[in-house]
Subunit: 340 residues, 2 copies
């Protein structure tokens, strides 16, 4: 019998009705359960923070909500400590939804099934441009956006994990890319690091005015991560046959009530526009192809990982809250431990 | 020289900021201008009334607004009285946007170019199922809706000109069709005359409750003519991979301010739904093919003309207002004169 291990966990204590606070979570320490037949014991190394996790806290959507009293769910990368499962060995790096805790004992199933990572994959990339985040940007931009060289591509949440990758992919496809982000620093950064052509600072500039100025022929493709007023302002400026990619709506995730819809949606009629939503899991059968393409672009230096890495499991709630205050630049990660 | 003819006209006097009233128009009588080289003189026989004309009164959209002091624009069918244009002769039936007046003198151009109708085309059909209305329902339903047999198709404004035809086309394609209309009489009528499977009376029933009951597996295709709360309620009930066809938003056309957008649009993300708008003119190159198919279905008795024909040019404003009070059942027409 291996020695018992202490497992530190963040439990979902109460469901937020408005903004997420630290009080929503409770810290506890329990003993790690030893793996049974067909199970593995995993040491969590790094956690991924994504706006969609806000939905997991409060309602059943495309996945059931996290039960109260259970570990907060999150995508993560870990390392196998002990395996009683065929095909997986101690030392292997694995990815799955292992949650806000040091250890997990699992048969590998669940909402985000455990997958073995190729040897040598950097943990941060596995959860960034070469992971779910990269795939989200990839399928949204290519399958729904159908970008053509010379088109004007606008993305909101442009300094966020998905938005920054979406903009870089649109650049690879030959679009003129305009990013909308909050603050001068983020705006400078998406141009210098992300290679965006233009940036709009929604905190200090008129988004409508700047869109008019920067997109004189209208917006051909709009990749929306924020919803709310910015989605509405983008709809006011669409070009004929525009495609609106609905990826998220972070501006509304912390509202207790459903925020107003985009009043300018009727422009879709006048411009023959199309607005389409998606979840990355809709493209599960194409994940392998997507990862391969993203890895190729990353290898060629066309796609960069823009990231914000915090440290320490004790900081999980605070790190999560960075998404909603807009503190993060690029992919928000939390390092818990180094691989053995 | 032909004798001068008195031409009775309805002029756009003021732009409405809310509901259309008779005061928006002014009646006047002028002399008809004789046709010059390349022009024809047309006797207007029947006028078409469509919700989109409300937009023509107040703002530049896909067509410039009607100038103040000019004849109110409307689609119509007329008969050539005198021709100085090649290829067109006195007696020919023609279709175009001749407006709210007895006569027009034109070279045949304009927003809706003049087209010669095949001999024997009934005037009402030319402006109903075999005209712009039928084509609008046809392209929206088929090109955007992509209906498959067995799917659930919901249409609002179901007792209106476009909605009733859209529902009948969806039936032809094997869908289960649910219509939303105002009042018991309209609901009974879309079932008995239009062959709809089910009807929801938004005036006396809970649209949300009835959609839940009638579409237990969700809505695959929703053809929207009304916007507002009904669009929002339909979005709450979409099935995976739903298509929302945005055709109109009559509920909002008489608002002085832009009505709220559909707050449930985020369901497009969760269900991978697509919402797409169109104008019938987007499909101009396929009009001939569409008319041929509609005429075939009409000949086979699969497609009926549901119509409301009023009489007398003096009643043009009152007839137009029937659209917004919901008085009309089917295509709203106004007969001005019989063909010679």
């Amino acid at each position: 019998m291996p020695a018992m291990r202490a497992n530190r966990q963040w439990i979902l204590k109460t469901r937020p009705s408005g903004p997420v606070t630290e009080d929503c979570f409770e810290w506890r320490e329990v003993e790690t359960r030893a793996p049974g037949d067909g199970e593995v014991l995993i040491r969590n190394l790094m956690l991924s923070f994504d706006p969609t996790q806000r939905g997991w806290m409060s309602e059943d959507t495309y996945v059931p909500k996290v039960p109260l009293g259970e570990v907060m769910r999150a995508g993560s990368v870990g390392q196998v400590v002990e395996s009683r499962k065929d095909g997986i060995e101690a030392g292997d790096l694995v990815q799955g939804a292992f949650g806000w805790q040091d250890y997990t004992t699992t048969d590998g199933g669940g909402f985000m099934p455990m997958s073995k990572l190729p040897r040598g994959t950097p943990l941060n990339l596995a959860m960034g441009v070469l992971g779910i985040t990269g795939l989200t940007a990839y399928f949204g931009t290519l399958e729904i956006g159908l970008p053509q060289a010379g088109e004007t591509f606008v993305v909101s949440g442009a300094a966020g994990a998905t938005g920054s990758v979406a903009g870089m992919i649109a650049k690879i496809k030959g679009c003129r890319v305009v990013g909308i982000a909050g603050g001068e620093k983020k705006c400078a950064w998406i141009k210098s690091e992300g290679g965006f052509d233009e940036a709009i600072d929604y905190k200090s500039e008129s988004v409508s005015g700047r869109l008019r100025e920067l997109c004189p022929d209208g917006i051909d493709i709009y990749f929306d991560n924020v919803g709310g007023q910015i989605l509405n302002q983008a709809l006011a400026r669409i070009a004929p046959n525009a495609r609106i990619i609905l990826c998220g709506a972070i501006s509304g995730y912390e509202s207790a009530e459903l925020p107003p819809g985009p009043a300018n949606y009727f422009n879709l009629v006048l411009k023959h526009g199309r607005m389409e939503g998606f979840l990355v899991l809709d493209y599960l059968s194409k994940f392998r192809e997507g990862i391969a393409q993203l890895a190729e672009w990353h290898g060629e230096g066309k796609l960069k990982q823009l990231e914000d890495i915090q440290e320490g499991l004790e900081n999980a709630p605070r790190t999560f809250m960075r998404l909603f205050s807009g503190a993060n630049m690029g992919k928000q990660l939390l390092k818990i431990a180094d691989p053995a």
